[in-house]
Amino acid sequence: MRRVVALVAMVALAVLVGSAAFADADRPLAGRSISIFTAATGKDETFAEFTKDTGIEVHYLEMSSGEVLSRLRASGGKNLADAWFGGGVDSFIAAGEEGYLESYRSPEAEMIPDEYKSSGGYWTGLSLVAVDLIVNTDVLKEKNLPLPKTWLDLGNTDYKDELIMSNPTISGTNYAVLFHLIQIYGEEAGWDLIQKMDANIPFYTKRGAAPPNKAAMGEVAIGIDPYDIGVQIVAQGYPVVSVFPEEGVPGFIAPIALMKGAKDMEAAKAFIDWCLSKRGQEVQMTYTAKVGTRPDAEVPEYLQGLGKAKIVVADPVKVGEMRDSILDRWQQEFGDKAEQ
């Protein structure tokens, strides 16, 4: 009996060692695993492709970028994950400045224009996220409301309780909207519009994905929407349309970064390289409606619609610099209504 057990154990060991040694000659890091923080659509499918290519397993926790930043601050430098994938660039800039990120210039990033990269190498732009409005046409018809065409329209009192956005202190998308409005209308008129919009907003949600979903359900008429989420909702057949406000919409960078003290630097770097490679970018564009930052990656048919929009890409440095002052003011004036 004992001999049989020993034999079985040896065979099992041999199989394990053998498979590790030979099966993955072209995937040197196969069998390792990394952990990441992420706020992105299509991640499950994208990461599955990555695992297929490299054999590295991905464990992720979904968190808004603002949440990641405050968690990093609270943990005081203790490593929490290996990499950080997607979200608002403002949080990445702050995290880089405060020393939570590891500088890494991926060889794949050479193709990517400089304006999409951190000068210190702390983060690299993965893709460009646009913001649009998801508008429920049934609700508009029922309430006899016109289709909003501009950001200015959103301040119209007719839309009382029919507009929703998410808490900009947590959601990078919605911080980008505030930033954008202040950029195009100037300090005074910008805040004036934000205040008028606030009067129409019953409450602020926590996740950036919630407003378009609430508009799709008819809970409100208009939801401020990260474009990649709205595309899925339109495809699901809800009675909604996507509207790009005429003044132009904010386009902001969704970055990727290496965390300081990553447990498996090598695997985490491999992950970043893959995400910035031509193949990785094309995989991402298949599963999430964001245009990749790599010029040589092919943009799929369904994303061509973005071309009609007037996208204003925000200067990431300025986005980072103004974050505290804009959010502090917002928190003071409107923070009470945020969904808790």
Binding site: D44, R207, G237, D336
Partner: protein, 562 residues
């Protein structure tokens, strides 16, 4: 009989004194480390500002956030009133009327009891939202579903089951001959109900009210999903901890939650010391007289409205899992199920694994500790029991943030493996295991153990032949409860989740938060199905065991706040 009078000293000696003392020290140490230490850690965090003692945070909270406190108490009060009313009606219906359909009512109650606490919010929006199936499609009304009214309604129906099972246990235990005596002395049906039955049931009703109140206070999911801009303390604690990660402030907020909970706990311990957790067989006494007609019909209509409401709630979730786009396209699809299979299977398996381990550990620890505590009335044992009882009432966010603070510096191996999540659940449920063990042990005649020893059996033989089999039902009860709890809880463990330890409730929480109805519905259905299957399987085991003469009855989990 006369041979061994000094049985207690003898039995201690025979049961491997060193090993058992060591085991006891180990278990007691666990209670101190995993309950007392985190509690101290969170209290400490809330009163230290830059290393010195200060009540500044509490002052800020009480002056700046008075609305939150007021909202919490408002929701808690009305939820308690409504939940206890519904619970009382259900309990009366099942134990005191001759109406049909008791099994259906019990089934719905059980289902409500074991489903994750925030499932209600999901179906609330599906059914009663601004575009809800009922409110908009059927009734055509346009109203605002977000606010205190929705929170109170959904918490009430969700917690009614807790109240119902507690009150049921007490009603079953009431000696029917007391009512009989009242009738014989000439009292009418109304007088007997008001002056005999209700006072006798009062401890159960008060306990139910207290537990419902604490659970309402510590629920952050419902107000978060359907409260709109109506905020309560629990949601604020969650947001401050997870959103801005200001742990000292979160500690202070959840400590404020603790104050009413602790008061309730003292009352609860006093009441529960008399009432059995396992209801004994009710005393049958001659012919029973029906309740007054008005009461019967009131009970009937409340109970069936509740059952109908719950039926719709779970029906909506089940349908939501299989229709393409809720509210727009109701055609059948397996697409959401496939998504679950593709991406969330790992979390589901992890949930089941954690639940199983937690249930096993809590069950074993419970009965072993019951043996120690039940037989030794030292001050230390009583202190250990008191501490073990604490987590039963600690608000989920409080216990979760406490773990975060106490064990944040543990090596990665503990954090990445779900050790903390399992420990959190085990210690939340431990007191129930101890209690059921103690109540079973009370029924065992100590001489039975001595008899085995006299025949030459050692400590192990006693355990194998006497104590073990008798404690089996207590173990099973604790197992089912802990399994269900771990499978469905979110309040405490959400603070302990890492990329490697995602569980299905956390995934569902995210999905509801993002408004993804299809995915949320699938996950909710799966969680409920797994919990239900385990409950049915294990209560069957329990019932089978009962035929061998044990007097234990299955009382499902009404326990700790989730």
């Amino acid at each position: 009989m006369g041979i061994k009078q000094s049985s207690s000293t003898h039995s201690k000696g025979a049961f491997l004194p060193d090993a058992s003392s060591f085991l006891y020290a180990l278990l007691a140490g666990g209670v101190l480390i995993f309950i007392l230490w985190p509690t101290i850690a969170i209290l400490k965090e809330s009163i230290l500002v830059d290393g010195t003692f200060s009540l500044e945070r509490y002052r800020d909270l009480l002056t700046g956030n008075r609305t939150l406190l007021k909202n919490s108490l408002f929701v808690g009060w009305w939820t308690t009133v409504l939940a206890v009313l519904i619970g009382l009606c259900c309990a009366t219906y099942v134990t005191r009327t001759s109406f049909r359909g008791k099994r259906a009512v019990l089934g719905v109650l059980l289902m409500t009891l074991i489903s994750p606490p925030f499932v209600s919010s999901l179906s609330y929006i599906m059914l009663f939202g601004r575009r809800g199936l009922v409110t908009w499609r059927l009734l055509g009304i346009s109203w605002s579903p977000y606010g205190a009214h929705g929170v109170i309604l959904m918490e009430s129906v969700g917690l009614a089951a807790v109240a119902a099972f507690l009150i049921m246990a007490v009603l079953r235990g009431i000696d029917r001959s007391l009512e009989q005596a009242s009738f014989d002395l000439g009292a009418g049906r109304w007088e007997t109900l008001i002056r005999v039955t209700l006072p006798l049931a009062a401890p159960g009703i008060v306990t139910a009210a207290l537990i419902v109140f604490i659970r309402s206070l510590s629920d952050f999911g419902t107000p978060m999903f359907i409260g709109g801009n109506y905020n309560v303390l629990a949601t604020q604690a969650y947001m401050v901890a997870m959103g801005s990660y200001d742990l000292p402030k979160a500690a202070a907020i959840s400590t404020i939650l603790l104050v009413p909970a602790f008061l309730v706990f003292l009352v609860y311990r006093k009441l529960m010391s008399g009432a059995p957790l396992f209801s004994s067989k009710s005393v049958a006494a001659g012919d029973e007289r029906p309740l007054p007609g008005a009461v019967r019909w009131f009970v009937f209509s409340v109970v069936w409205s509740f059952v109908l409401f719950e039926g719709m709630k779970y029906g909506a979730i089940l349908c939501g899992a299989f229709v393409k786009t809720w509210g727009v396209n109701f055609s059948f699809t397996l697409q959401h199920l496939n998504t679950l299979q593709l991406t969330k299977l790992g979390s589901l398996l992890r949930s089941v694994r954690y639940s199983f381990v937690a249930a096993l550990v809590a069950g074993l620890m419970g009965v072993v500790m019951a043996r120690f505590i039940g037989r030794r009335a030292t001050l230390f044992s009583r202190a250990v029991e008191f501490i073990a009882d604490l987590p039963f009432i600690l608000p989920g966010p409080f216990f979760g943030i406490a773990y975060l603070l106490a064990f944040n510096r543990l090596p990665e191996a503990f954090l990445g493996t779900g050790f903390l999540i399992v420990a959190n659940c085990v210690y939340r449920q431990l007191s129930l295991g101890i209690k059921s063990g103690v109540s079973v042990l009370k029924q065992i005649n100590p001489e039975l153990e001595d008899a085995v020893r006299d025949q030459g059996g050692g400590g192990l033989a006693v355990l194998r032949d006497v104590t073990g089999p008798l404690l089996m039902p207590a173990f099973l009860v604790s197992f089912i409860n802990t399994f269900t709890f771990t499978m469905t809880t979110i309040g405490g463990i959400i603070f302990l989740i890492t990329p490697y330890t995602k569980v299905l409730t956390a995934e569902m929480f995210d999905a509801i938060q993002s408004g993804d109805i299809g995915a949320s519905s699938v996950m909710a259905s799966v969680i409920i199905l797994v919990a239900m299957a385990v409950n049915v399987a294990f209560s069957w085991l329990l019932l089978k065991g009962r035929k061998k003469g044990s007097e234990v009855e299955y009382v499902p989990s009404f326990g700790a706040t989730r």
